[in-house]
């Protein structure tokens, strides 16, 4: 029950195609509203005609008569013509929006995002080579276009942060790209949109748009190696981490751990959430997660590693200290 309560407090930030803060999402919203209005009007027109056709008063002997049929032919043809014109218009509008979105200029930086069952591996690139790795949270500079290189490690996933841009699948064996540009600073939640297995529901991520200064600071912090644990408890935790199977799956740069199956934990203490947007990162939630990841996120790929309560306390203190 306690665990449950922890789960209940997780992420924040908007996740809506109507609450938009990114360049593409703004264009998309304009298009969507246009299309929705046009279609709503067409629907209303049809309904008015339907209502009148059903309820109108009729003269007594309304046999099939040629005059009425001819008039109907003209009207139906006109309606079909109007349909063709409207859809032609909508096609052009949607083509134009595609152009607007794709033409959003050259990217300030490239970030590789890899979908894994059920989290996101995020690799910041510098001059075309990997700089550092993190997970589930993508910081970008506000007002700059960032290019995401989308790949999948296993099955098809889909990257979707609706407040910033439309979605794009991550397809095994292919590389797709998506350009993001946040116009206002903030935390934008997103979620995997293609069914990818048992924990598809808990494969969230967030994009955090920072102003230039904080973004540069963040970048510098992240590319650095992990902090040496200061307190004794954290030091003990590091020993646990390195001694137990943790290090086989996770990497903390600056220590001998070099596992790559799980998220890079070098700066896990600086993330807002853990477990792919599942819970707010607190010391308690870290402990809960490490103690029993399978209850919190059934079926995920981190096994329960048996730890004594001292070990658990120490290792979560260590995780917490990895700012």
């Amino acid at each position: 029950m306690g665990l449950f309560a922890v789960c209940l407090s997780g992420c924040n930030g908007t996740q809506s195609a109507l609450d938009v803060h990114g360049a593409s999402a703004i264009h998309l919203k304009h298009l969507m509203l246009l299309v929705i209005w046009v279609c709503a009007l067409v629907w209303l027109t049809v309904m008015v005609v339907l209502a009148y056709a059903l309820l109108r008063k009729r003269r007594v002997a309304a046999e099939v008569n040629a005059g009425a049929d001819n008039r109907a032919t003209v009207i139906v043809s006109a309606a079909v013509g109007a349909t063709a014109l409207i859809i032609a218009g909508l096609t052009v509008a949607s083509f134009y929006t595609t152009r607007l979105i794709d033409g959003d200029g050259d990217a300030a930086m490239t970030i590789a995002v890899k979908g894994e069952q059920w989290w996101w591996r995020v690799t910041y690139m510098r001059d075309g080579t990997p700089d550092f790795e993190t997970a589930n949270e993508i910081h970008i500079p506000v007002g700059r276009t960032v290019l995401l290189q989308l790949e999948s490690a296993d099955v098809v996933h889909s990257f979707w942060v609706p407040s910033l841009a439309g979605k794009q699948d991550l397809v095994p064996g292919r590389t797709n790209t998506l350009a993001l540009r946040a116009e206002t600073p903030g935390v934008y939640r997103g979620q995997c949109a293609e069914f990818c297995g048992i924990q598809h529901s808990h494969m969230a991520m967030s994009v955090i748009a920072d102003d230039a200064v904080s973004f540069e600071r963040w970048l510098a912090d992240q590319s650095a190696e992990s902090l040496k644990p200061a307190e004794p408890e954290a030091t003990a935790g590091q020993a646990v981490f390195l001694g137990k199977p943790c290090a086989a799956c996770h990497r903390v740069r600056g220590t001998p751990s070099a596992g790559t199956t799980g998220p890079d934990l070098t700066h896990v203490g600086s993330r807002d959430t853990i477990g792919a947007g599942l819970m707010e990162r607190t010391r308690g939630s870290l402990a809960a997660w490490i103690a029993d990841p399978q209850t919190i996120k059934p079926g995920n790929n981190m096994p329960m590693v048996p730890l004594t309560s001292d070990e658990l306390r120490a290792v979560s203190a260590y995780m917490e200290s990895l700012k």
């Binding site: 005609v49 309304a62 099955v155 095994p172 949109a193």
Partner: protein, 636 residues
């Protein structure tokens, strides 16, 4: 022939009605008893079975949807775990599409088309029996697997690699793929029967421009089945091969491709939705004509709309893959083609409106459902046009907006006309009327329940809720609408429950219907309700598209033998008589063939050798099926 020359065969020419009935009954009749029941080839008995089975699957799929709605009614609910939920939504979608929607439309046609074209049995009656058994076996396979926790859990389109050998462990995905084989075999068989029945067995005089619109819609649908289903057969077979013997069709590491699956699936999957929708269009046209008392306005336009929808249907599949990362230019082409389908769809709507306008609508339950259909389907069509736009779709693909779209078109566009059609043809099938009072309640509950359930899903989708999630976090602003959706689903379900009650009550105690209770125009109403085993005492002859409105007696032909099952074969275009062809008698062999085929298919989930050894009994059964037994029907 009146010279009384000795002749060994007995013709209907000289017999009076009572004698004729007696002779025809003795040769067309299905005896009582289990053995006779499983060897019958009467299209009405098989059609009825087919319809009932499909409706049972509707209710089972509906119960699954209620379970999903239970789980989704609150955030982080723990009623159903993720593994079970994934099986449930996959079962719901698979069951609804492959075991309910497609089969029910074909089932209605199996029952109605031979009557509407004025013949005595469907073409290839044994194939028809076989097709029903295959359908039943496929359905049982899927549901038994689900009951033992081996239900497929990969979604109704089973994207690889999730469904492939590496990630789809166990037998779940195999069950899905093999269930496809079962239902596709049965759908293909029915499609062939219908095409041939419509081409070759129409009443003399029923030229192309006098074919009832429902029959036209089934003809186009059957061609869609014939051209689309091979794609899914190839796809699901390749999937099984990848899983069972290690081929690499979908494995990018060895030159295969993940998107190949998506292309193959949707090359079938898109036409699939029109396979469901077009028959419903035919039903709507039939009902509109009957309850306005005039032919549907623009017959030729309606037929052209059906055909062009059918043709266009093969050029749209990529609109399900707009975010898969295909070249933008290609995608724009598919936007244009998808939107273009609004033209034939609109044309049909406008023709119905014109008919309603010029006719005098009588508001019986079937017409209510058609009005509900127009209101609802146009919404679904509009959202279809929205998602057909590539940029729009990048925001709503794989969200509840799409879930809303397809329930609007599937339920509003196909189930509503279907329910109308049940109210409409129930008197023909059972000889009894359904209740008009209950019918209105059923309509009201289903119509209101439907919109309350599915309209909010549009908003949920725009507000960022993806589909196929077993739960969502409480801080996301979706819980209120989800609760509303779940509660409304109960209203909807109660409508369906009332419908079931009405069916049971009316089948037992409904007032007698008489042969033509609605004063309809097409041939099925020219015979008794329920029709006798031989459908028509004498083969009808028609001189217009509305034979029962333009003439006050039924024009018939005589000269057929009554000492064997005989029906009339006519020319494809003009429907001029070509031969008095015999129609096969009952046979148990279709059942054996279906049993043998089911064994191969299920066994081959486990080992490829099943195909080798299992094909022996199949070959034996097919030989038994076709080997002459000396019946008079086998004479030339």
């Amino acid at each position: 022939m009146a010279d009384g020359a000795p002749r060994k065969d007995l013709r209907d020419t000289a017999l009076d009605s009572a004698e004729l009935d007696r002779h025809l009954t003795s040769i067309w009749h299905t005896r009582g008893g289990l053995w006779a029941a499983v060897s019958t080839v009467d299209h009405k008995i098989i059609g009825r079975r087919y319809i009932i089975t499909a409706f049972v699957f509707l209710f089972m799929g509906g119960v699954l949807s209620l379970l999903m709605r239970l789980q989704l009614s609150q955030p982080e609910a723990r009623f159903i775990g993720p593994d079970r939920y994934n099986q449930i939504f996959t079962m719901h979608g698979t069951n609804m599409m492959f075991l309910f929607a497609v089969p029910v439309m074909e089932a209605m046609a199996v029952y109605l088309v031979p009557l509407m074209v004025g013949t005595r049995n469907i073409a290839f009656p044994r194939l028809n029996a076989f097709s029903y058994w295959m359908f039943l076996a496929g359905g049982i396979l899927l549901w038994v697997a689900f009951a033992i926790d081996t239900g497929p859990d990969v979604g109704w389109f089973a994207y690889v690699p999730l469904a492939g050998p590496q990630y789809g462990t166990g037998k779940r995905a195999d069950i899905w793929a093999q269930m496809i084989t079962f239902t596709e075999i049965s759908a293909l068989c029915v499609a062939v029967e219908l095409v041939v029945t419509i081409f070759k067995q129409r009443a003399p005089g029923m030229s192309l421009d006098r074919i009832p619109l429902f029959v036209w819609s089934m003809l186009v649908t059957s061609f869609l089945v014939i051209l689309a289903m091979p794609a899914i057969m190839i796809a699901s077979s390749s999937l099984i091969l990848d899983r069972l013997v290690g081929t690499h069709f979908f494995n990018p590491a060895e030159g295969g491709d993940v998107l190949l699956w998506q292309h193959l699936f949707w090359f079938f999957g898109h036409p699939e939705v029109y396979i469901i929708f077009l028959p419903a269009v035919g039903m709507a046209s039939t009902i509109v004509a009957t309850f306005t008392g005039r032919p549907v306005f623009g017959y030729l336009a309606m037929v052209m709309a059906l055909i062009s929808t059918g043709v266009l249907a093969f050029g749209l599949w990529v609109h399900h893959m707009f975010v898969a990362g295909l070249p933008r230019l290609g995608e724009s082409f598919f936007t244009a083609s998808s939107m273009a389908i609004a033209v034939p769809a609109g044309l049909q709507i406008f023709c119905w409106l014109a008919t309603l306008w010029m006719g005098r609508p009588v508001f019986k339950t079937p017409l209510l459902f058609v009005v509900g259909f127009i209101i609802t389907f146009v919404v679904g069509g509009m959202t279809g046009v929205m998602v057909a736009s590539v940029p729009f779709d990048t925001q709503v693909h794989d969200t509840y907006f799409v879930v809303a779209h397809f329930h609007y078109v599937l339920i509003g566009g196909a189930v509503f006309p279907l329910l109308g059609a049940i109210y409409y043809w129930f008197p023909k099938i059972t000889g009894r009327m359904m209740s008009e009072t209950l019918g209105r309640w059923v309509f009201a509950l289903i119509f209101a329940g439907f919109h309350l359930t599915f309209f909010p899903m549009h908003i949920l989708g725009l507000a960022g809720m993806p589909r196929r999630v077993y739960t969502y976090q409480p801080e996301l602003p979706w819980s209120g609408l989800n609760m509303m959706v779940s509660l409304s689903a109960l209203v909807l379900a109660s409508g369906f429950l009332l419908f079931a009650i009405d069916i049971f009550r009316s089948a037992r105690n409904g007032p007698a219907a008489g042969s033509n209770p609605w004063g309809a125009a097409t041939l099925e109403w020219a015979t008794a309700s329920p029709p006798r085993c031989y459908n028509f005492r004498r083969m009808p002859v028609v001189y217009s598209g509305e034979p029962l409105w333009t003439e006050d007696e039924l024009q018939v032909a005589s000269g057929l033998r009554v000492d064997r099952r005989e029906l009339l074969v006519t020319a494809v275009v003009a429907a001029t008589p070509q031969a008095r062809e015999s129609s096969v008698p009952h046979s148990i062999w279709p059942l054996w063939a279906a049993v043998a085929t089911s064994i191969v298919l299920i066994w081959s989930i486990f080992t490829p050798w099943a195909v080798v050894w299992g094909s022996i009994p199949v070959a034996v059964a097919l030989t038994g099926w076709f080997w002459p037994k000396g019946a008079p029907e086998e004479e030339s």
